[in-house]
């Protein structure tokens, strides 16, 4: 898998140092240009690059729908996107670091998108989705990386659409959004499960794509909760075993 790379290391075991090999998550830059102008350079796990670029352009508001994206060419560490409308105002030189809180969206509460999705799901769907995400093949192989799963609520089931891994949580999120766009997934009926902390950035990405629910094995933050209240997003944290904490818009959980 492109997400892993075998490296040399010296292991310390039982009082001794020994030469060894170990697999680590691969991290690589991807410089994205939009209409010929450098827009952002992301550090990411180098797989699902196309999905990442498309998802990122959507969640950053550069495009509102796939039809606005006329071309994406990816060559090694460069991605070049052409969008239908000319963007004289785009000036990039931004950098997404692979760690946490590296999002690039501006926070202007007056421009917060409102989620119009009427999604309601059952608690069992939440458990099933988080479990499916955490036990995915990707996670078993790599460990350590962040995982985001995109699911569609169908009858009483959570139908898995795509599970993406990345060294960055937001990157993994953008990858599943890109996958969803490319595959005509109805985001009004979709929700997201993830392995890591739900940040304000993740909330904004959900709001921009009209995804009404995000559930995680991990925690969330005060700002994420405040924004989720206003946008209509249901945040669920600490989904573990038979337990979960619903922080906002609990009416989206049928019980």
């Amino acid at each position: 898998m492109a997400i892993l790379k075998e490296v040399s290391c010296v292991k310390y075991r039982d009082g001794e140092f020994v030469e060894a090999k170990h697999e680590v998550a691969e991290e690589a830059p991807l410089a994205i240009s939009v209409n010929g102008t450098h827009f952002v350079t992301a550090m990411l796990s180098p797989e699902m690059k196309r999905e990442f670029v498309i998802g990122y352009l959507l969640t950053e508001g550069i495009i509102k729908e796939l039809a606005e994206l006329e071309s994406v060419q990816i060559e090694n560490h460069n991605a070049s996107a052409l969008v239908a409308h000319f963007l004289p105002g785009i000036s990039g030189k931004k950098f997404i670091v692979s760690g946490c809180g590296g999002g690039t969206s501006f926070l202007d509460e007056s421009k917060l998108p409102q989620i119009t999705s009427r999604l309601e799901i059952e608690q069992d769907s939440v458990f099933a989705a988080v479990k499916a995400t955490l036990t995915s093949q990707v996670h078993r192989i790599t460990g350590g990386v962040h995982l985001v799963g995109l699911f569609v609520a169908e009858a009483h089931e959570a139908k898995p659409i795509c599970i993406a891994a990345d060294i960055g949580r937001h990157n993994a999120f953008d990858k599943v959004i890109g996958y969803g766009l490319l595959n005509d997934v109805p985001f009004d009926y979709a929700f997201v499960a993830c392995s890591g902390r739900i940040s304000s950035e993740m909330v904004l990405k959900c709001a921009k794509t009209n995804i009404a629910l995000i559930a995680s094995h991990g925690a969330t933050t005060s700002l994420a909760i405040a924004l989720a209240e206003k946008t209509g997003l249901c945040i669920i944290g600490f989904v573990r075993g038979e337990a979960m904490n619903v922080y906002t818009h609990a009416e989206r959980i049928r019980h």
């Binding site: 240009s33 209409n35 010929g36 102008t37 006329e70 071309s71 060419q73 070049s80 052409l82 000319f86």
Partner: protein, 397 residues
């Protein structure tokens, strides 16, 4: 075909256009794509690092990919040319010929798939010409007889631009594959009349080269395509800027990809427009388009057959042909008939030899024919208008 399509071709509100086999009308989205290049990102391709150059380059590259996808080219290289003629000449010039090599072509070829091979006679190449039946169909056995171990190239049209007849190119390519040695026969398919009208899969066709005209398939004039399954077989016909990796005082290395064959500044806006044109055709759906045209063709053929003094040329079975329909009216010169159709009925049709003089000789039609050629923007009412006008002229003779 719906109103929306019709609205994309403003000329159709002014005239009845039935000369699509010569050049098709251009839909608004293609005009828009061309004008956007000049208005918004006019720059040369493959040379600059600045923003406009990058946008132009990316769109021009995308256009190649779109055309490759449209043609079903899963391998090889799609090269943009200015027309089918240039594409075929690039093959005739680009292959290495030896005295005694043979080319097999047919008597119903457009001059563009005839003269480039005839010219090779100067190099000692022998050109063999397979004759069709009088309605433009071929027996595979005729080709089998013509192909020898010296045959380097078999060059045929997939659809006749005079008779509308569809040639069995897939079967012919399979026959050539059976006989294939290190030197040939290679197969070139002239798809000028097939690419605009039939669903295509050039990789599955079994040919080595496929040439077609962008301007006959809703693209701008000055656009054509050559698909080469193995571009290494071809020496570039033109040398100069944009087609090299490096140049020193006494050596050069050629670029890879289509750039190798597109020396100099290409028709950038045209190429991008052609990319938009194949998007347009894909959105309409080639299967659907082909079925629609078959309905129009049937109406036209049945109508013409019922008019006294009208002679029809080409296959009568719709499975063997497309909507390129040649006919004559006894006692009326084809040019005169075409002029009358324009002046009296506002209908634009082609007349004369249609760049197929050897075929006209063979059919004994020294004045040629009138040719009505249809496309997705034509309507049944327009067919009826043509039939009515032809009937009136025939009665008056």
């Amino acid at each position: 075909m719906n109103e929306r399509i019709r609205a994309d071709f403003p000329i159709t509100s002014a005239v009845v256009y039935m000369d699509s086999a010569a050049t098709s009308l251009t839909p608004e989205p293609v005009v828009e794509a061309v004008s956007r290049y000049y208005r918004e990102y006019n720059a040369n391709v493959g040379r600059g690092v600045y923003r406009l150059a990058q946008i132009a380059t990316q769109r021009y590259q995308d256009a190649h990919r779109k055309v490759a996808h449209f043609l079903g080219a899963t391998e090889g290289e799609v090269i943009f040319t200015k027309n089918t003629t240039e594409a075929i000449n690039m093959v005739a010039y680009g292959l290495h010929w030896q005295r005694g090599d043979e080319v097999v072509t047919t008597l119903l070829e457009h001059h563009s798939n005839f003269l480039p091979w005839m010219r090779l006679k100067e190099k000692g190449v022998r050109v063999k010409i397979v004759k069709p039946t009088l309605d433009g169909r071929f027996e595979l056995a005729e080709f089998e007889q013509a192909i020898t171990e010296k045959t380097k190239m078999v060059a045929v049209s997939q659809v006749s631009n005079v008779l509308g007849a569809i040639a069995p190119v897939k079967e012919l390519a399979a026959l050539c594959a059976e006989k294939r040695t290190e030197t040939g026969p290679l197969v070139l398919v002239d798809g000028a009349q097939s690419a605009p009208h039939l669903p295509l899969d050039v990789s599955g066709l079994g040919c080595d080269f496929f040439a077609c005209a962008g301007h006959k398939m809703l693209g701008p004039t000055g656009t054509g395509v050559l698909w080469a399954k193995d571009p290494e077989l071809l020496e570039p016909a033109f040398f100069g800027g944009g087609m090299i990796e490096t140049v020193s005082q006494d050596a050069y290395t050629l670029a890879s990809g289509y750039e190798r064959f597109e020396a100099g500044t290409p028709h950038i806006a045209g190429g991008i427009g052609l990319g938009r044109a194949v998007d347009y055709l894909t959105n309409v759906g080639m299967e659907q388009l082909s079925r629609y045209e078959a309905r129009l063709t049937q109406r036209l053929l049945e109508g013409l057959e019922s008019i006294e003094k009208v002679r029809l040329y080409g296959p009568s079975d719709l499975r063997d042909r497309i909507g390129v329909v040649s006919f004559t009216v006894d006692g009326v010169h084809p040019h005169e008939l075409a002029r009358m159709l324009d002046e009296a009925a506002n209908i634009m049709v082609r007349s004369g030899h249609h760049c197929c003089m050897p075929l006209m000789d063979y059919l004994g039609l020294k004045n040629g024919t009138v040719r009505a050629s249809l496309y997705l923007y034509n309507l049944e009412e327009e067919i009826d208008a043509l039939l009515e006008a032809v009937a009136a002229i025939a009665r008056a003779v």
